[in-house]
């Protein structure tokens, strides 16, 4: 049935204006098309099921309402103090049952919808944690890489912590990356404006196509202009390396293919490469392409869990 016809039938049904034939037509459309069991939900991710349950449950919870009638100032002050203690207690009890952890292991990108209907794409080997209720206090902890499309809500800032940096936004799209194999943490803005802090000190305010790079060793940051299509490649299903060190590339490959990558020759680590691959490519294919480009040999163990790289690299 045509969409427009369908919508018009539903509206007629609602308005009690549908003829018995039209009611029949609508119910036939509804009943004829499906047989439960034939229909597959496009994701079998248990994390998604859990998030959906949490979102529904969050909507069911009655909102706490406070009515203060002629409150004595002293009592109010006590309450403020108590609330402060409560918040500290909540903050200390970081690992309580109210904390939600979403983990995306390897070989795929996981799209998560948060309770405020913001969207997050998690790269391979990435963990995202947040506390519920989420709506009034939008704070997340990221370990890995995430692309955030934040639902606009100026009253409730959206805060992401990763690798010692804190990114605060009001409604925007940005990418934040902090893997162990990286030399630091990066924040890249696609749309809108964000502020990045480290230990309470503002590092910079970023506008679109600007990237803040934090170096874990020097504990300094610098902001550069970047091509955002490069940044977003992973989210669109590409493994893309833009003049990156072999060590960083190995980190990305080890997360995507869930393998351990070891360097036999250290000189290989600093060799920089450019390249772009569809993320459906196999690990042997990509390693072969790289070894055709630079002086590198690779070997994989029988269980396909460990890869050893050797060679002189770019020298």
């Amino acid at each position: 049935m045509e969409q427009t016809r369908l919508y018009s039938l539903i509206r007629k049904l609602a308005d009690d204006e549908a003829t018995p034939e039209e009611v029949q037509e609508l119910h036939e459309w509804y009943h004829s098309v499906y047989a439960v069991g034939d229909v597959e939900w496009p994701s079998e991710d248990p994390a998604e099921e859990e998030l959906l349950r949490q979102r529904i449950w969050a909507q069911l919870r009655p909102r706490p309402r406070f009515r203060v009638v002629r409150m004595v100032a002293r009592v109010a002050a006590c309450l403020v103090l108590l609330a402060g203690v409560f918040l500290v207690w909540r903050y200390m009890g970081n690992k309580g049952p109210d904390q939600i952890t979403v983990y995306n292991p390897w070989g795929k990108i996981l799209q998560v919808t948060l309770p405020d209907s913001s969207h997050v794409w998690l790269n391979a080997a990435t963990t995202l944690r947040y506390k519920r209720p989420f709506g009034s206090y939008r704070e997340l902890y990221l370990d890995g890489e995430g692309y955030f499309d934040v639902a606009e809500d100026p009253a409730h800032p959206f805060v992401v912590h990763a690798g010692g940096l804190t990114t605060t936004v009001l409604g925007t799209r940005f990418d934040m990356r902090s893997f162990d194999t990286d030399p630091g943490t990066t924040v890249t803005v696609i749309r809108g404006k964000v502020q990045v802090d480290n230990a309470g000190k503002v590092l910079d305010q970023l506008t679109p196509a600007r990237q803040l790079q934090w170096d874990d060793h020097t504990r300094q940051s610098r902001t550069v202009s970047v091509d955002t299509t490069e940044i977003m490649a992973w989210q669109q299903g590409q493994l893309r390396f833009d003049y990156e060190r072999m060590e960083t590339i190995a980190g990305t490959l080890s997360r995507w293919y869930n393998v351990k990558i070891l360097f036999k020759d250290s000189t290989l680590r600093n060799c920089r490469l450019m390249g772009s691959f569809d993320n459906k490519i196999t690990l042997p294919q990509i390693l072969t392409i790289i070894s055709n480009t630079i002086d590198m040999q690779w070997a994989m163990d029988d269980k396909k869990r460990i890869v050893i790289l050797s060679g002189k690299g770019c020298q």
Binding site: L6, Y7, I10, R11, L13, A14, D15, D16, Y30, V33, Y34, V36, V39, E40, W41, P42, S43, E49, L52, R53, R55, I56, W57, Q59, L60, T113
Partner: protein
């Protein structure tokens, strides 16, 4: 300790009426997959499918005191159909607003009307469970607007037993709707 996963729908409903969160979770886990699949099949849209599940379960929660739900699967079957309709209407409305840049005609009534229609269909289902004679008397009385004497004549019953069947049907419905005003039947 109660093993909620092992409870039957009937027991879960009883716990749900007391506002038991665990009962709700058990119902969710038992039925969400089916609901989301139905929602997805009809809308071919993940967000809309999720809205369908959300609508059905929130409806169940909010109506837990008002409706006497005897068969959970029968309730959910009707509820999910109307949730699909509601979500589609909502979706089309959003598209209209986007296309006209916010100048679309205001209309928040259609969803409410679909909700009323859903309740009517649910209660029709209750009538269906009545014994045949009671059901027939009730339909003659309410749908065909026949008087007690007319029904008595048609069905070869005494006026008194016609009244008895009508009272029985109304009682069954009242049990089913408890707090709802008799807007659909008065």
């Amino acid at each position: 300790m109660t093993n909620y996963a092992a409870l039957e729908d009937g027991h879960l409903l009883a716990s749900l009426q007391k506002g038991d969160e665990k009962a709700f979770n058990a119902i969710y886990h038992r039925h969400w997959q089916k609901l989301v699949a139905i929602g997805y099949y009809h809308t071919r849209n993940k967000q809309m499918a999720e809205d369908v599940v959300s609508d059905v379960l929130m409806g169940l929660w909010h109506k837990r005191h008002e409706l006497e739900i005897r068969s959970l699967s029968a309730y959910l079957g009707t509820a999910v159909k109307y949730a699909v309709f509601k979500v589609m209407v909502r979706h089309q409305r959003r598209e209209d607003i986007l296309q006209t840049q916010g100048r679309a005609e205001p209309d928040d009534e259609t969803e409410k009307k679909l909700e009323a229609r859903f309740l009517r269909e649910f209660l029709d289902g209750v009538v269906e469970t009545l014994p045949e004679k009671t059901r027939l008397v009730f339909r003659y009385s309410r749908e065909d607007q026949l008087s007690v004497t007319e029904i008595a004549g048609r069905m070869d019953l005494s006026p008194k037993s016609v009244e008895y069947h009508i009272t029985k049907a109304l009682k069954a419905l009242k049990d089913s709707i408890r707090k709802f005003n008799n807007i659909f039947f008065s």
